[in-house]
């Protein structure tokens, strides 16, 4: 008679709580922008459908700054992934360098956004266009600042030696939120800056 052998217990999986939580939060924030951009596109279609120009007279949206911001943010996504890869290999020097670069690129985007606002010559009170454009781009700026704070906190934790090659979920979670922020900018770029 053969002995009954109990099935082995499955290996205990390390719950990636922070990464999953960050993904859920990113999805929620992403949906805020889906809502905003949906309303923006509907309002713009209504105005253009009535035969008027979308932007008020005297206002303009140059493309050079938005393009630069888009490239900057794409580069920041690359540098953040560089940081995640570096920490996964316990390469701390490269991780610190990449995190610093990411934060600098984020800061550059903030500066460029405010410069673009200055160039647009669009008043919030000029009508539905001003309210929509400033609300959407302003909300994205808030998301960028939140992402920078998240990355900065994780960078401090990395400096404190809390992340290892096997356990660096905090940094991965920050990266998830950052990528969502870049994806949101891609939507804004195409729907507000490119098509107008």
């Amino acid at each position: 008679m053969s002995a009954h052998v109990l099935p082995p217990a499955p290996p205990v999986q390390r719950p990636r709580v922070l990464v999953v939580g960050s993904a859920f939060a990113s999805a929620a924030v992403f949906m805020v922008f889906i809502g905003l951009i949906g309303i923006y596109l509907t309002a713009r279609a209504d105005v253009i459908g009535s035969g008027s120009a979308w932007l008020p007279k005297g206002s303009t949206i140059p493309l050079q700054q938005p393009n630069t911001m888009f490239i900057t943010l794409l580069m920041s996504a690359v540098t953040l992934q560089w940081a995640v890869s570096a920490i996964a290999k316990n390469d701390r020097v490269n991780a610190y360098l990449a995190l610093g670069l990411t934060l600098m690129l984020g800061l550059a985007t903030i500066v460029m956004t405010t410069y673009l606002w200055h160039l647009m010559k669009l008043d919030v009170a000029s009508g539905i266009q001003g309210v929509l454009i400033y609300t959407i781009t302003g909300a994205h700026l808030v998301m960028l600042v939140l992402a920078m704070v998240f990355v900065a906190l994780m960078a401090l934790r990395a400096l404190g030696g809390q992340f290892t090659a096997l356990q660096h979920d905090g940094l991965t979670a920050a990266a998830v939120f950052w990528y969502a922020m870049v994806a949101v900018y891609a939507l804004i770029w195409i729907s507000i800056y490119v098509t107008k």
Partner: protein, 521 residues
């Protein structure tokens, strides 16, 4: 079940860890998911009573020449009770039950991000208070005082952010902290329905936040020329109270019903997979952020909107079939949670049928808001009945003592009466545009609806009293499993659960691990 297959270093030994009985002192400053869950439920109950009284007054205001209240107060009450019953009552009460029970049902020692869960609860409570105060000082949508209106908008934003944060905590718990062996198709029905409902909230409530952001920007900086113009503010956020979005706030109730029915019939759910599909379909068909009358005025002529209203009957029928099969194949124990679960199913069925009628254009039920208001009140009643069923069912687990079942049985009648009187009477008023014979009974039906809303408020009181009865002196101890037929993991820990909830847990091999253990013993 192989009891040797235990999970290393999970939780705390319940024989050593102290039990936590939530009290004002333990709730303040705690990160314990049980205390946070109770706080949501109790505060939601208080707001629920106030909101339903407001709904009753709003109904009475519609009578005759609308002189019961001033025009502005009547409109404010109607709008505030509409949004308030969802954001201050239904979602928080389900979220409270989820925060308390999802970790227990999936075998986790805590909720994910306990400090964030506590922050969410306090932010929600604070925002609720600010929202109510702002209404009282002439704020609200189209309110007369500019700063009060700003306060209302900020409070609503805070409410949504807090509820989303709390939802993220519960969803993350269900996804990442499940005990070994508990695959997603093995999670208890309530946890599954929280996953579905919470995901829909996560995808749609941010859209309402987007609406609020635009109203706030225009109100504060844009000169109130577009989004914040008088008369259009509420229209931009009112979609959360309309079909199909309003169904999203009922989804967790379906899971409560299924769990209650399974335990109190003493049998495994025969068609569990069908119920999972029904809950999932119910959630998917309730995504309504796109059907915003302010942005898309002709949404009700859209085929998708009309089809969603009709197709919603399919998950309802699957749900009814699954519940009926469970009741027939098991041995139903005539306890109040089962009665309340059945009331919830009946009211849900009425609401979905009303929703299907609403989308049929030739019936002209959309020419006034009465029919839609009736359907909305039916959904609120169904959700409250589900919460009451949940409190009756899990109450002994929360308090450690057996609840007084008589109060629950009385509540079955009260909530059924409240839901039918409150909701169906408004639906009948909605038919008055089609059948002139009904127009004479318009005012009477509105009074009946107001009585129904008051009964629903009474139902909340009875549900809380029933919960509190478990803490009365001399209440019989609940033990781990007061029903004697518990199937899911929350019935494997002491009542009330100690800090850390569980000791070592066996590997889960089916959706009903406790029945497996009983069978193997």
């Amino acid at each position: 079940m192989a009891l040797t297959d235990t999970r290393p270093d999970t939780g705390t030994d319940p024989s050593v860890a102290p039990s936590v009985v939530p009290s004002p002192l333990t709730i303040f400053g705690t990160g314990d998911h049980k205390a946070i869950g109770i706080a949501y439920v109790l505060a939601g109950a208080v707001f629920g009573m106030a909101g339903l009284i407001a709904a009753a007054l709003a109904s009475l205001h519609q009578i005759g020449s609308r002189s019961f209240l001033s025009a502005s107060v009547g409109d404010q009450l109607s709008q505030v009770s509409g949004i308030g019953l969802i954001l201050l009552v239904i979602v928080p009460m389900f979220l409270g039950l989820g925060t308390y029970l999802v970790p227990l049902q999936v075998g986790a020692s805590t909720v994910a991000f306990p400090r964030a869960a506590a922050a969410a609860m306090w932010t929600w409570l604070l925002s609720s208070g600010v929202f109510i105060v702002s209404i009282c000082i002439d704020g609200g949508f189209d309110g007369g005082r500019e700063k009060s209106v700003s306060l209302t908008l900020l409070a609503l934003g805070g409410l949504i952010v807090a509820l989303l944060l709390g939802t993220v905590c519960v969803l993350t718990t269900a996804i990442t902290l499940r005990t070994p062996g508990m695959t997603l198709d093995r999670v208890p029905m309530f946890t599954f329905s929280m996953l579905v409902g919470g995901s829909i909230w996560l995808l749609t409530l941010p859209v309402m936040l987007a609406n609020l952001l635009l109203i706030w920007s225009d109100h504060r900086y844009g000169g109130a020329q577009s989004f914040a113009s008088i008369g259009v503010q509420f229209g931009q956020v009112g979609w959360i109270t309309h079909e199909p979005q309003v169904y999203a706030f009922l989804v967790p109730g379906l899971g409560i019903v299924a769990d209650v029915v399974a335990t109190l019939t003493g049998a495994r759910l025969a068609h569990r997979n069908v119920l999972l599909v029904a809950v999932g379909a119910f959630g998917v068909l309730s995504v309504g952020a796109w059907a915003q009358p302010a942005i898309y005025p002709s949404f009700d002529e859209d085929f998708l909107w009309q089809a969603m209203g009709i197709v919603m009957l399919v998950p309802l029928l699957l749900l009814l079939g699954g519940i009926a099969t469970a009741l027939r194949s098991g041995k139903p124990s005539l306890k109040s949670p089962l009665g309340l679960a059945v009331v919830s199913v009946v009211l849900t069925a009425l609401a979905v049928v009303a929703g299907a009628l609403l989308v049929i254009t030739p019936l002209e039920l959309r020419s006034t808001s009465m029919f839609a208001n009736g359907q909305y009140l039916l959904i609120i009643a169904a959700a409250l009945a589900a919460v009451a069923a949940g409190l009756g069912y899990w109450g002994p687990k929360m308090t450690g003592g057996q609840s007084a079942d008589g109060l629950g049985k009385l509540n079955v009648l009260v909530l059924l009466g409240g839901g039918v009187l409150g909701g169906v009477s408004l639906c009948v008023v909605g038919f008055a545009t089609r059948f002139s014979g009904l127009s004479g009974s318009h005012d009477t039906l509105l009074v009946v609806s107001a009585i129904g809303a008051v009964l629903l408020a009474l139902g909340i009181v009875l549900a809380i009293l029933g919960l509190a009865s478990g803490t009365r002196k001399g209440a019989p101890e609940a033990g781990d499993d007061p029903w004697g037929s518990g199937q899911t993991l929350e019935w494997a820990c002491p009542s009330p659960p100690p800090t850390g909830n569980f000791g070592d847990l066996a590997v889960v091999r089916s959706p009903e691990p406790l029945l497996d253990e009983e069978a193997s013993a």
